[in-house]
């Protein structure tokens, strides 16, 4: 008998407690970063505001990513299917957002600006987490 293993291997995820680490990275780290920057280098927030924004955004993304990658209490095949569905929804919404954003700018008479990649990724991760949670509740 041949054993099917190649595509049946479960996706490697981080242990469940990474959810809490992710939350800490997402909420505490940007706050700590902003507070320490303000205390140690007060001028930096004004002169290098873009760099400070970038670090805070990246910490948010890293936190959301850790939450996304952490295991559920029981990681079975239905949970894997829900993960896939939530990922599909997040991807679909991101595509709609990218297409519709310039149209809305035109409708409201605003200037069309280039979309920020970090913003799209952050939205995708956030939508994924929300829909994964909702799908789990509805299963």
């Amino acid at each position: 008998m041949k054993y099917s293993t190649k595509y049946n291997k479960p996706i490697r995820l981080l242990p469940g407690y990474f959810k809490w680490i992710g939350l800490a990275v997402m909420i505490l780290m940007p706050v700590l970063f902003l507070v320490t920057t303000k205390l140690l280098y007060p001028g930096l927030l004004k002169t290098q505001s873009d760099a400070v924004d970038l670090v805070a955004t990246n910490l948010l993304i890293a936190g959301l990513f850790l939450i996304t990658l952490s295991k559920d209490k029981v990681e079975d095949e239905l949970i894997m299917l829900l993960r896939l569905k939530a990922m599909g929804i997040a991807f679909g919404i991101a595509i709609i957002y990218v297409i519709m954003d310039p149209l809305f700018s035109l409708i409201w008479g605003e200037q069309i600006k280039e979309l920020n990649g970090s913003m799209i990724i952050m939205n995708m991760l956030f939508v994924y987490i929300v829909f994964f949670f909702l799908l789990k509740k509805m299963r």
């Binding site: 049946n8 029981v74 079975d76 239905l78 949970i79 299917l81 789990k136 299963r139």
Partner: protein
């Protein structure tokens, strides 16, 4: 796809949680399978048939639109 998991489980006096623990899935997964919201994989179906000591095609039955 229809299934008789609930009936078989009741015969064995088993709770959803006990069945879930026996085949390493969550209680909600068993609930979804019983309510025909989710069709399990072959591996899971075989594990269930092993618990109930019945062939898979006696536990799961295809419907017209499957």
């Amino acid at each position: 796809m229809k299934n008789i998991i609930k009936e078989e489980r009741t015969k064995l006096n088993m709770t959803q949680q006990e069945l879930a623990d026996a085949i390493s899935v969550s209680r909600q997964t068993i609930n979804s399978i019983e309510a025909c919201r989710y069709t399990p994989s072959t591996v899971l179906a075989l594990k269930i048939s092993d618990i109930f000591k019945k062939p898979v095609n006696k536990i799961f039955e295809l419907e017209k639109n499957d």
